[in-house]
Amino acid sequence: MKSHMRMREIVVLRVVSRVLMPYILLFGLYVQFHGDFGPGGGFQAGVIFSAALILYGIIFGLDAVQRVFTPFAVEICMALGLLLYAGTGLVSFSKNMNYLDYDVFGSHGQHYGILLIEGGVGITVASTVLMIFYAFAGRWRVSQ
């Protein structure tokens, strides 16, 4: 695939994607942690975050992304996010409360609980989307 090989040699693409990358990542984090005040939340944040990494992967090749986010780590994170969510629910069992009752975290418990579970959702979504991209892009490269 010539166009794929040449992608990183096009100056405009390379410079623009490098400039945009940190802002997209930062915006993803903003949506993640500001989700209880503005629009957004874990799902949106995870998707935006992984969109930045996928952009990087398209321009600079799969290995450039996988050097930072190794497939093994992404695999672990997929399960870790879900476990964080489910584990947050388990905490309330320690005080004989219902599952996922965030009041166990004190007077501002709802805020902390939602922050935790949104973190779990964000981690799972970001790593799952990234993993699907890895799966597709990896096949693509092997068959060339």
Binding site: H4, M5, V31, G35, D36, F37, G38, P39, G40, G41, F43, Q44, V47, I48, S50, A51, I54, L55, I58, G61, L62, D63, E75, M78, A79, G81, L82, Y85, A86, G89, Y99, L100, Y102, Q110, H111, G113, I114, I117, E118, G120, V121, T124, V125, S127, T128, V129, M131, I132, F133, Y134, A135, F136, A137, G138, R139, W140, R141, V142, S143, Q144
Partner: protein, 242 residues
């Protein structure tokens, strides 16, 4: 009477839909689906559903377009010429007519008395607004901190509904996304590791030798794999929107 931005965007959507259906160049079709998603993201923004617009722009406009392109790289770029078929057209037409008939009973756009604004949502909204008002004015919080209207108290009601009121649902949705990812991994990545791990992991580690002959990756998936996970992979974008 608002300026018909929505009408304009809907017309763009319809035009894009026709162009996707007519396009024989699959690259153009994939890009046009991205345009379709971005237009609907604009539409969601106009309708004040910014959360959904985020998701639509990132998943529909970005991620699924990338997946389409990835699939195109594995197949051909142009669609084979096919004779026009009447049967699918009739099905599409009937579905469209059924949707329009179903739409007749809906309340007009923006109506406050629509069922979605008058049932549980209204109660939750009232409770949450009261809580937010209390938390922004601390002096009144001390006086009227009655225990019976216990609320989450986040300014973004969508987050508090998704995270707290409907916490189990969101847990399930996260599980669905996780399952979708695992399914895709099983379908696309598992085989390389099991069958011919030595030769293929070598090519994964060294991207430079791209000219090495395509192994037997092109052949179909192993027979034991069920097609279910790819269907749930489709849901990754759809699930939280609903």
């Amino acid at each position: 009477m608002p300026f018909p931005t929505e009408v304009f965007l809907f017309l763009v959507l319809i035009a894009t839909g026709f162009m996707v259906a007519r396009a024989t160049n699959l690259f153009a079709a994939a890009m046009l689906t991205g345009v379709f998603s971005l237009t609907s993201a604009c539409l969601f923004t106009v309708m004040d559903a910014v959360d959904v617009a985020f998701t639509e722009a990132a998943v529909g406009g970005g991620f699924s377009t990338v997946l389409f392109l990835g699939a195109l790289a594995l197949t051909s770029r142009t669609e084979k010429k096919q004779p026009a078929k009447l049967y699918p057209f009739i099905i599409v037409l009937l579905t469209g007519i059924a949707l329009i008939i179903g739409m007749i009973n809906l309340k007009p756009y923006g109506d406050q008395n629509a069922p979605i604004h008058s049932h549980v949502t209204a109660k939750i909204k009232q409770k949450e607004w009261a809580a937010v008002k209390r938390s922004t004015r601390p002096e009144s919080k001390k006086s009227t901190d009655t225990p019976q209207d216990k609320a989450v108290g986040l300014p973004n009601i969508v987050t508090s509904i998704l995270g707290s009121y409907r916490g189990y649902d969101t847990l399930g949705e996260t599980g669905v996304i996780f399952t979708a990812g695992v399914g895709v991994m099983l379908l696309l990545m598992g085989r390389r590791r099991e069958d011919d791990g030595a030769s293929d992991s070598g090519s994964t580690a060294m991207p430079s030798n791209r000219q090495e002959p395509a192994l037997d990756e092109q052949e179909s998936n192993p027979s034991g794999v069920e097609p279910e996970p790819s269907a749930s992979g489709e849901q990754t974008g759809e699930e939280p929107i609903s």
